[in-house]
Amino acid sequence: MTSTTEAITGGRLMVELLEEAGVEIVFGYPGGAILPFYDELYHSKKIKHILVRHEQGAIHMAEGYARSTGKLGVCIATSGPGATNLITGLTDAKMDSIPILAITGQVATDAIGTDAFQEADIFGITIPITKYNALIKKADDLARHFEEAIKIAMGGRPGPVLLDFPKDVQLEKTSVRKASALKIAPHHYERPKVKGDPQEFADALNQAKRPLLYVGGGAINSFASAEIKALAEKANAPVTTTLMGLGAFPGTHPLSVGMLGMHGTAYANKAVLECDYILNLGARFDDRVAKYQDFAPNAVRAHVDIDAAEFNKRINVDHILHGDLKDAIREILPFVKGGDRADWISRIQTLKKNHPLDYDNNGESIKPQDFLNRVYTKTKGEAIVSTDVGQHQMWAAQYYLFDKPNTWLTSGGLGTMGFGLPAAIGAKFGNPDKTVICVTGDGSFQMCIQELATIAQSKLGVKILLFNNNFLGMVRQWQELFYEERFSESQWSYNPNFVKLAEAYDIPAMRIEKKSEIDKGVEFFLKDSGSALIEVMIPAEEKVFPMIPAGKSQQDLIEFKDLGKLKK
């Protein structure tokens, strides 16, 4: 549906379409091929532009914004190097199903294919890492592509889209535009009808003696938290979530068994082994969770997903419901019978008691688990937490309990170091009234450290919790356990003075090294709404437990208490 109005430039139309869609904030970096758009953006009163220091920062900010608000995240880059700097973020958003609109400038249409200055075939480059992409060759096609792109990014299983605009298309006049308004609001787009038999699906759950709900990132994308809680409580079924699903079910709920998978809780992983029915709600049997076909070996397996290509992709299942998770659970619920299941619940309690999350907190050094626990208590679990990738990410997943969806922002599928800081910035722009904490490590932090300037420039209250062990901690952990302690290139022989560095960006900072300083550190870090960095020195040999070694399955889980055995 298009209508014809007064002719305006492509760049002007781009800005108007963004405004009409409800976009309030974009993250970007100008350059030659995108200047006509930026010139129009200059006049916009509705769209706030955040100037970043690197395009990778822009797209991770858009992701942090999208992950924490459920809305579309928008980022802008120029052609060539600007566009290629978005690659990591696009891949990240594809892996974690995050709705992102990336707008890139391109050299003029008559220069395309001539190896022109700052030319890159970003359309070709991003085919495998976007849900949809297009090169717009005529201003008359612009509105149609915009509509398509936003619908595709937000609809079904969300994902990143990229639109590439040659400079002359931004300058060309057009009077072809959309008639109906686009929307970037969560869950605006029509969902396909649920396919499958909800009654038959529920019957298998009703017959189960030891059911387990296994909740993934799809629950966040579908805003299905309330439905999942209702289902768990009605069926009296324990709930485990994936790394991406944290917050979709309250981590403090009595039926919660925490996270499962490689660094999940021992009790969640043991529950997987013992359950007789496992209901996958919007997860994808990721290889860090479900290693082999013998995943949940004694269980009838059921799967709800919006993406039909996920069914039987890695793990075969017995029952399938295809559709939006929220809608699907609403259809199942009436057929679910309340079960007694006291034996199973008590078995779960025993597992929790006998196999708790554990670490050694004796000695003078600060344990990251302990510190995270204190931060959790102090923030009453109400902060939005973003992380980078590595040990600190897993400790945060284990020791900060998430009760609400969209409060846990982590790069799950791709494992992108450098994600945490910009994601926290994007989240803070989307949630100015909430405490936003970036949990990072000395390795990850240095991958997008230049975005400290973006915090300073906007006087943004982002809290940075930096665990420093002068190592790539997770790499070190693997080298220690599986490579006979050959620490090949995992130690930083040089790290900057992070406190001085933060201060150079006008961000108050403090370093603590001893356990006796923890209270002072937490107090300093969270004392007001402004930005702050706390550098917490932790022992290099501290490890993440439990752990399922790569390539192994739930049976091979190693707990903290098994560490001695493992070393022999």
């Binding site: 359309f123 070709g124 085919i127 495998p128 849900k131 949809y132 992409n133 297009a134 090169l135 398509e148 595709i152 993406d307 039909a308 290509a309 069914f311 039987n312 992709k313």
Partner: protein, 162 residues
């Protein structure tokens, strides 16, 4: 096992890359691919032959259907569809074996496009097995050049007739 997928796609630039790229990055091998526009200039038909078990083909179909430009994916069962490919072969002949070569061409319903003193250029269409067969038969003469289109397919309207 060989499967023939008939895929309808939007006739836009880059759609071919999207489809073939999907095969590459998910590690599926394409045996042959043939593309042409349909009676609707907005829509193209692709025929892709791939080797794989039912699981692989199921995955390929599901993943293809996720591409916004893919309109329909049909797995063509051999018994319920017509499958054809075209081949052009230029091969050597001599005075002594010319009549033998011509007899073969007649027998196989081959169209002769050019004949010189020492070569024949022929056109043949059939299912993949027949095409492979004719190439094998001509090979002893000395094949100079060969060009195959890759397979195209269309389903019979009357699926019960088989």
């Amino acid at each position: 096992m060989k499967h023939t997928l008939s895929i309808l796609v939007n006739n836009h630039p880059g759609v071919m890359s999207h489809v073939s790229g999907l095969f590459t990055r998910r590690g599926y091998n394409i045996d042959s691919i043939a593309v042409g526009v349909t009676d609707n200039p907005e829509v193209s038909s692709m025929t892709i032959v791939l080797n794989g078990d039912d699981f692989v083909v199921g995955q390929v179909k599901n993943q293809l259907l996720k591409l916004p430009d893919v309109l329909r994916v049909q797995d063509m069962a051999y018994a319920s569809s017509v499958q054809r490919e075209l081949v052009l072969v230029s091969f050597s002949i001599s005075e002594s074996n010319r009549s033998e070569a011509l007899t073969i061409c007649n027998g196989f319903d081959v169209k002769i496009l050019e004949m010189t003193e020492d070569s024949l250029l022929i056109e043949f269409s059939g299912n993949s097995r027949q095409v492979t067969n004719i190439i094998a038969v001509l090979k002893p003469y000395g094949i100079r050049e060969i060009s195959r289109t890759g397979q195209i397919a269309i389903a019979y309207r009357n699926q019960n007739a088989v």
